[in-house]
């Protein structure tokens, strides 16, 4: 039977752990709020850009430029590039596992028989796919801490450039969508060839520049914003997942402490009882 001092030691160690998980929960809660604000702040731009792209695409429809734009060109899908957005650090529950598994399943099942490439955002994505022997064409770390548009745009430009040069035939974005604090949803969206929004033109425009020219400048920007939005969503989802995981860890620690304290008291009582019996039986032996 473990002695009193062993119990005390274990309780102290669990308490320390609990303190850390509690602190991490608080930190994640604060970061989550900031990440959520960033998601909301980025929304007007991406929504408007989408609308604008739909309008311009409708106006440019049928022209050669629209049909021939390199980012719209549809090819036979032989080489698939997946941009996997994951976290850099663990302790966020099933967050990174969900993303990696989902991405792997998407490639090996839905895109079976093609050549796969991975553009990894976050260490967790890089490590997972490198271990499994996937081709990793690019890696970006520490992006989700405080996503900057310029950094994300660089990924977008690189990917769009490779697509235009026919190095890949399609690009998908795999990330965790921030649904609520309690739940994230795995989302897979096609980035390239750009799926043109289906909305019809809302007005008959005067074009200062020809619609084809506008389309050519809008498309790369659109690709960048789609990725940027995904990175922001993923950052918010990561903090939410970590917060939930740390909350669960804290309450588990509380359970363990309670159970240990109960055992400890039992052991203490047992030893007191034993001592009393010893004293009493010793006294009765003298009579």
């Amino acid at each position: 039977m473990p002695s009193l001092i062993d119990f005390r030691r274990r309780i102290r160690s669990v308490k320390n752990t609990q303190q850390i998980t509690k602190a991490m929960k608080m930190v994640s809660a604060a970061k989550l709020r900031r990440a959520q604000d960033a998601v909301i702040a980025a929304r007007p731009f991406s929504n408007s850009l989408r609308q604008m792209l739909a309008n311009v695409a409708a106006a440019a429809k049928g022209t050669d430029a629209a049909a021939e734009h390199p980012l719209l060109a549809e090819r036979r899908e032989e080489r698939v590039l997946a941009i996997v957005i994951n976290s850099d650090r663990g302790l966020a529950g099933a967050f990174s596992t969900n993303i990696n598994r989902g991405a792997q399943k998407f490639l090996t099942e839905d895109k079976a028989g093609r050549k796969w490439e991975i553009e990894a955002v976050g260490k967790k994505a890089r490590d997972y796919f490198r271990r499994r022997g996937f081709t990793i064409v690019g890696e970006t770390f520490n992006l989700t801490k405080a996503p900057k548009y310029a950094d994300v745009a660089a990924i977008g430009r690189k990917v769009a450039g490779r697509y235009a040069k026919c190095e890949v035939d399609s690009v998908y974005l795999i990330y965790n969508e921030f649904k609520s604090v309690m739940s994230q949803k795995l989302d897979i969206v096609q980035v390239l060839p750009v799926p043109l929004p289906a909305e019809t033109a809302t007005a008959d425009y005067i074009f200062e520049q020809p619609a084809e020219e506008l389309l050519a400048t809008l498309l790369p920007k659109y690709v960048e914003t789609v990725i940027y939005r995904a990175v922001l969503e993923s950052a918010a989802a990561e903090h939410a997942a970590r917060m939930t995981a740390m909350d669960a860890a804290s309450s588990n620690a509380a359970d363990v402490i309670e159970r240990l304290t109960l055992y400890m008291n039992r052991v203490r009582q047992a030893s007191i009882t034993r001592e009393i019996i010893e004293v009493v039986s010793g006294a009765s032996a003298l009579e």
Binding site: A41, S48, M52, N55, T202, I206, L214, T217
Partner: protein, 135 residues
């Protein structure tokens, strides 16, 4: 005719302006465009410069550069690559980048001329905006 229309100025990471305005002057790629309510639908690329608008009789401005502007009768959307309020402009940085760009334009070198021109234009717009608002 409505007396105002909605003006929205957004950059990839934030929404700068969302107001009912009486008129707006927007720097298009081919020169300034003045917008009043019920303007005909228009789409243009955005140049660099000072975007001014009138809200309830007060004139306000933001510096924008790069992007697009979409005008519809009841609202106008400006999607800028970068946009700042005049009080957010980093004067020192703008001056430095103007100097750098001008130096590059003067000395023949290995630079991207078009990019230097754009940088100079951007920096000038920022400095001009700052001086106009009395800083």
């Amino acid at each position: 005719m409505a007396a105002t229309f909605e003006l929205e100025v957004a950059t990839p990471d934030r929404l700068l302006v969302k107001d009912q305005v009486a008129e707006a002057q927007i720097p298009g790629l081919n020169g300034y465009v003045g917008i009043l309510p019920d303007h005909a639908a228009l789409l243009s690329e955005l140049g660099s410069g000072l975007l001014t608008y009138t809200v309830g009789g007060n004139s306000r401005s933001v510096v924008v550069s790069g992007g697009w502007v979409e005008v519809l009768p009841t609202h106008t959307r400006v999607l800028a690559a970068s946009a700042e309020r005049p009080d957010e402009i980093d004067l020192k940085r703008a001056q430095e980048s103007l100097d750098r760009a001008e130096r590059r334009l003067k000395e023949a070198g290995d630079w991207d001329i078009a990019r230097a021109l754009r940088a100079a234009e951007r920096a000038r717009a920022r400095l001009e905006a700052a001086s106009k608002t009395g800083r």
